[in-house]
């Protein structure tokens, strides 16, 4: 009986597209993955510690820089935590504008992800198509907030930018663009034979694993677990809106928990976001934008406030939770803990990747939306000789697999 030898394949850690770079160490038997280990923390920037040296208003802008893509959900969760402690009632109009901003973020993030996913399997025309479609929402965000990425619309107790009636035509034009063009994107992803072959029955996360590993966001919803903070809890304006949890069976009639299902969920959520924004614009109440417009007064109140609170929000990738403790003596919070969605999805990678092939690593890892294009340098130790596989090489392997299917 011949003894099977395995070798180790380290992948990662750094790529600019990642908000949390990850180093994988795979144990490989031939082409098959038999062991997965991951290391994180390469860009631990001690943001929580920095936050405890700053006042809550300053932290909003710091929180916005935790992640380039979901820069709405962090200030939102932080503001909600502080508002919970200090019993600040956010004006209704501000709640609606917050919701609109959060949904705009979801549209751009999910379409960005769709492009990355297409790229990972070597379908670059779809990457360009997706990102061309995404451009419209960035233009809209810029029109509404002045910035494409860091939007700086949040403040404690409300928002800093209004949405006025004369902006409606531009917003509606952009939303109509999505209604007309999303169909093309959805069909491309869901009906294309090659994408189906690469994504169906690949990177499966069972319902049981998703539950036990406490996965969040589209990753857990694609496995059939109905968990979405927007549906579960009345925060911002979500309690007033008509919204339901998106699971893949809505389109396909079944839940497999594979990469395909995760694509389905995200695309459904883009359509849902367009609908939610329209609902918000319809119902947008009049009134103030912020509970306490005088920032020094607000900070003085917060300085005297003692207590702890949590703020949760549904980011494009899943639940975000911030814990804040104010000690009633200092302006800066005593403790600030940030939990981003990828944190809870890390462990879900392990069952997803087990048993898959090397060429599936990019798409499976990317399917939780951490942007696993971090495969910038890979060392393969084979027969005690080191071979360096770089990003292009690994990407080439993935493309080759797609071509094999396409033939």
């Amino acid at each position: 009986m011949s003894e099977k030898t395995t070798y180790t394949l380290p992948i990662g850690p750094i790529h600019p597209a990642l908000k949390e770079p990850v180093a994988f160490e795979f144990e490989i038997e031939g082409e098959k993955i038999v062991g997965v280990d991951l290391k994180v923390g390469h860009v631990h920037r001690a943001i929580e510690w920095i936050g405890t040296q700053r006042n809550p208003i300053q932290i909003i802008y710091l929180a916005e820089r935790i992640c380039g893509i979901c820069n709405i959900c962090h200030p939102l969760a932080f503001s909600r935590a502080v508002e919970n402690i200090a019993n600040i009632e956010v004006p209704e109009r501000a709640e609606y504008i917050r919701t609109i901003m959060a949904e705009l973020e979801r549209i751009h993030s999910h379409i960005l992800w769709a492009g990355v996913a297409a790229h990972e399997i070597g379908f670059d025309t779809v990457l360009h198509l997706s990102w061309a479609v995404r451009e419209k929402v960035l233009d809209l965000i810029e029109y509404l907030t002045g910035n494409r990425i860091t939007k700086a619309v949040f403040t404690i107790g409300g928002v800093r930018r209004d949405i006025t009636k004369d902006q409606y035509p531009t917003i509606n034009k952009a939303l109509n663009y999505y209604k007309e063009n999303l169909g093309v994107l959805v069909n491309t992803f869901l009906d294309d034979k090659t994408i189906q072959m690469r994504s169906k029955n690949c990177g499966i996360l069972t319902e049981e694993d998703a539950l036990k590993l406490c996965a969040v966001g589209p990753t857990t919803r694609a496995s059939g677990i109905k968990k979405d903070v927007r549906v579960d809890q009345a925060y911002c304006a979500y309690g007033d809106l008509d919204i339901k949890v998106m699971t893949p069976d809505i389109v396909t009639g079944e839940v497999n928990g594979d990469v395909y299902d995760r694509i389905v969920v995200r695309l459904l959520e883009v359509e849902q976001s367009v609908d939610l924004i329209e609902q918000c614009l319809d119902k947008l109440p009049s009134g103030d934008l912020v509970a306490e417009p005088k920032i020094p007064k607000l900070l003085a109140t917060l300085k005297k406030t003692e207590g702890e609170g949590i703020g949760r929000a549904e980011a494009p990738r899943g639940e975000v939770i911030h814990y804040v403790k104010l000690d009633g003596k200092n302006e800066a919070p005593y403790t600030w803990k940030v939990r981003a969605p990828t944190y809870n999805n890390l462990l879900a990678w392990i069952p997803m990747l087990m048993g898959e092939q090397i060429a599936d690593i990019p798409i499976v890892a990317a399917s939780t939306d951490p942007c696993m294009s971090c495969t910038n340098r890979v060392t393969v130790i084979r027969n005690n000789k080191k071979e360096i596989l770089d990003n292009e090489e690994l990407h080439r392997l993935s493309i080759e697999k797609t071509r094999r299917f396409a033939r």
Partner: protein, 172 residues
């Protein structure tokens, strides 16, 4: 078990653990035009019943575990376990925040990974960030602090084991 309201959840824990549950409070908040409500439950438990309390919580429903936060409060370290139950039902989710104090003289807490495997990353994090030993943790390695942070420096601590000196000497 039928769905409990937030008051009933607090009662459910009080009935079982009596005086070992302290400072229970229910935060009621509302949002939007329709002022739909949501609830956050907070309570402190004695360290001796910690594991039992988590098991007790799992009997309500397998909870969603969010994260563990840590506060250095002088003599003790306070760990706050954030859970939620009844997710998936429209507007019915309840956050349950369970805090437990661990004395600095005996910084140990039991692992809950055997009940909720998803807690592993967070348990590894409190080990390295606060110097708490998690007993029975399946993976003992550091997670976020790799590289040049020395052993024995715990970034979330406010005492002499905190990162102050490390930060001060950073540019030397």
């Amino acid at each position: 078990m039928k769905n409990l309201s937030s008051e009933e959840i607090v009662q459910y824990f009080n009935d079982k653990f009596k005086e070992k549950i302290k400072d229970a409070r229910i935060e009621k908040r509302s949002a939007g035009s329709k002022k739909k409500e949501f609830f956050n439950i907070w309570f402190k438990i004695d360290k001796s019943i910690f594991k039992e309390a988590i098991n007790h919580l799992c009997e309500i429903q397998f909870p969603h575990f969010a994260v563990i936060s840590g506060n250095d409060i002088g003599e003790n370290i306070e760990l706050v376990y954030h859970f939620s139950v009844y997710y998936g039902v429209r507007l019915k989710e309840i956050s349950i925040n369970i805090s437990v104090e661990v004395p600095k003289s005996n910084l140990k807490i039991e692992s809950i990974c055997d009940i909720i495997p998803g807690a592993l990353i967070s348990e590894r994090e409190i080990q390295e960030m606060l110097g708490v030993t998690v007993e029975g943790i399946p993976d003992n390695r550091r997670i976020f602090l790799i590289g040049n942070i020395p052993e024995g420096v715990y970034p979330w601590r406010k005492d002499e084991k905190g990162p102050q000196k490390l930060v001060r000497d950073m540019y030397e």
